[in-house]
């Protein structure tokens, strides 16, 4: 890795830290939302027709892009000329390169406003890779597309059910665009499952960011979870604050 990459990586870590220990909104710029530890915001298009016109995908460009991505992905299963001076370097390097490619793809799609199931398929395929860097970029790419059942399932299974707390802020922003009742039920069920048996670090982050998803129908279920959480646990403190926040906001 070159110095620029190291610098970027350190930057991401620091920004990720800011998500869990936000200090003041005044310290974050327009790109660095306190809920979003990443340099890029998700596009979060919830209704393609409202925001962009669907364009036909440039087949050639897309094929070149996909070819790069799949060539790199194949390195997970075949030997590529990538350094391995310690036991994890090889896989880390593939992940970093995939992330770069996916982010470039994301920027391009964001700029063109393209909406296509092919883009969604690519995003979901890479979201399933067990590497938080790759998941982060794939989630951003997915955010350029309208909500769909398959995308929601992908986010639940590959982000919320994973064990990387640094992705939760981004995932919650993305989930805000899933507005119909069916989606709400699935999201709620996923949250409840996570509180019961999710990653210990993820449920802390989830409890902190969940307040936007609490409503009159779900509050009692979260309350029930709260009552069964160990007293003095960080998850309980965070969830309690989220419910309290809902209670005061619901007076609107």
């Amino acid at each position: 890795m070159n110095k620029v990459t190291y610098g970027l990586i350190l930057f991401f870590s620091v920004v990720g830290y800011l998500f869990f220990f936000p200090s003041s909104k005044e310290t974050v710029g327009s790109l660095l939302d306190y809920r979003n530890p990443y340099t890029r915001k998700p596009a979060s298009i919830s209704d393609a027709q409202e925001v962009v016109e669907t364009e036909s995908v440039d087949r050639t460009k897309l094929q070149i892009k996909l070819s790069k991505l799949y060539t790199l992905k194949n390195c997970y299963t075949t030997d590529c000329d990538i350094a391995s001076s310690d036991s994890r370097e090889y896989e880390l390097t593939i992940g970093s390169q995939l992330k770069q490619e996916l982010l470039a793809f994301y920027e391009e799609v964001l700029k063109s406003g393209r909406v296509s199931t092919e883009i969604e398929d690519v995003a979901l395929e890479f979201l399933a890779i067990n590497d938080g860097h790759v998941k982060e970029a794939a989630l951003l790419l997915l955010s350029t597309q309208p909500p769909s059942q398959v995308a929601l399932t992908g986010i639940i299974e590959n982000v919320l059910d994973y064990h990387d707390p640094n992705l939760i802020g981004l995932a919650l922003i993305e989930l805000e665009k899933y507005k119909n009742e069916d989606y709400h039920i699935q999201i709620k069920e996923s949250f409840l499952k996570n509180f019961r048996e999710g990653s210990l670090l993820v449920k802390e982050a989830l409890a902190k960011g969940i307040y936007k998803f609490v409503n009159q129908d779900t509050r009692s279920q979260y309350e029930s979870i709260l009552n069964n959480l160990p007293k003095n646990s960080r998850v309980r403190k965070n969830l309690k604050a989220s419910l309290e926040r809902y209670d005061y906001r619901s007076k609107l």
């Binding site: 870590s13 327009s30 915001k41 036991s87 896989e91 210990l200 160990p230 309290e244």
Partner: protein
Amino acid sequence: MFFYYPSLAQNKTPDYWKCNNKSGGSWNFGRAPNVCDVDQFIDASYVSSVYGPAIFDDSKEVTVERARYMSEVYGLIKDTARYYIVSRKPEVSEEEILEFIQAAYAIGHQESYWSHYRIPSNKRFQYMRGDYGHGHGIFQVDDRWHFTAINQGRGANLILNMVYSLEEYYDAWQRAPSQSCVNGERDWRARARSAYSAYNGGASKICRFTNPKDKWARNDEGFRLKYDDRSWERYVDDLDREGYLNIECAYNEGENCKKGVNEALPRENTIYRSSSLGSCVFKNDGQEFFCSSANEACLFTKLNGSSSSYSMGVFKDFWDEYQVQQVPDEGLCSEISGIYSAGTALEVLKNINVRKTPAGEKIGVIKSGSTSQIVGVDISHPISQDRYYKIVYGKEIGYIFAGNKSDFASWARQTQKSLTYKLYAIAGDYVKASDSLSSVDDETIDLEEGHVYQVVDSSVEGHKLFYILDVNGVEAKFYAGNFEAVNISDFFTLSEKADDEDQAPLPDDPKDEVRYGRLSKSIWWKKTYSCPATSCSKGPTFKGPKLTSSKLEISEEKLGWYKATQKGKTGWIQAKYVYLY
């Protein structure tokens, strides 16, 4: 040896980074080289009080000390692995728990020879740093891949080190049975080895252990040898032994986490911990428990006065035959002398370390004479009444130690001085609403996002902050966040002046002035109109701050509407949807 944690990317930390007073060791259980000071990452006194039995003391006869140390650490690994897998899989079988525990023992052996805390000849509290100082502690959390976690103390704190590492291992443990190299869920040995391959080499290397030609096959072989040989058992006095710590308490960085006394009947002068009730104190006269989840040291002092001793214990399920009374948070700490409550302005009287948690990551030093706001209080010991204040420090919130019941007056005092560090407003200040909010006692009184209001009064209720604000001449109370969740700035930020003082008078011809703004944060996008009325034909769509960082350039204002341009597209939009910079 190390594993990689997703999205906490590589950091180019130098060899032996923050490795003060490095001491050597030997390649045997409990003493693997090297060790460095814990106080670079967590509080040494916390290590001493919570992890005392799990510290290898080099001044003792090494064989005897190793046997003692191994027995203590054996119990802690066992309890932590059990706590972890039961948390993730509540219906897990006892057979799987035991297999998972064995895998955890083997990881600790492969990574560090079960080495973590040690007091070498320099008499300092230190912990193991392998792999040129990059590997931290018993499961060797690597500071190049886990820089943030290491800085949060997740490498130096023994229980956090294991839990953090098991998150990664468990992921592979769950995937392993579906791999070609593992013959189903109960192929325990292959499952443990497979999960270790992925833990050590990455998710795609989950069957690496079956390939003896792999460049890193030696790591898999090392793990196999340890897993099969179980050589730690030769040192442990009782293989049924449990650890001395309450893992849930230690994982949440609590104080006094020792399991303590184990008796059939409750007794006085003991704090009993319960997951569902919090901390409880028993009183013989009424044969009842008094419980609280706020602060057990305050609870103990309130009920027992100036007792000179206490013990810890676990609340037994069958004690539910006794009466249990929940003690209200308000006034719980009233018997602790010289304690200042949240909302008080505090002046520190000496240079004091500021930490993320009472015993955790050091974030700086607050200088003697500095003043700050207290946002929380923690009493860590019911007899000495050691006190920690959660205070505002720069743009962060952290804990400072502020003495015990004998010497607190020399550490900090209440003050009326102007504040060096300030997070929330007091009477007379101005705050800017970060969101549109309604008053908690009159729903018809709303605040406008981005507008500035004068604070008539502020109050702290438990962990909650409230402001009474002057809203167009009416005083109304507003919820302003929760100190525990550190979300105050989601609701209000401190502001210098009120809106009307902030804004210059409108020019005679508003067309001549260009102003900038954005859509309100809750709006994703908004259609514009070709003229300032909803009956006009629709214009282009403006995107909100969730979708773009592009500003709105406002060139004209008419009848509560703005004529604005975003990315070259111009339209009319109602002023109520726009936040002006």
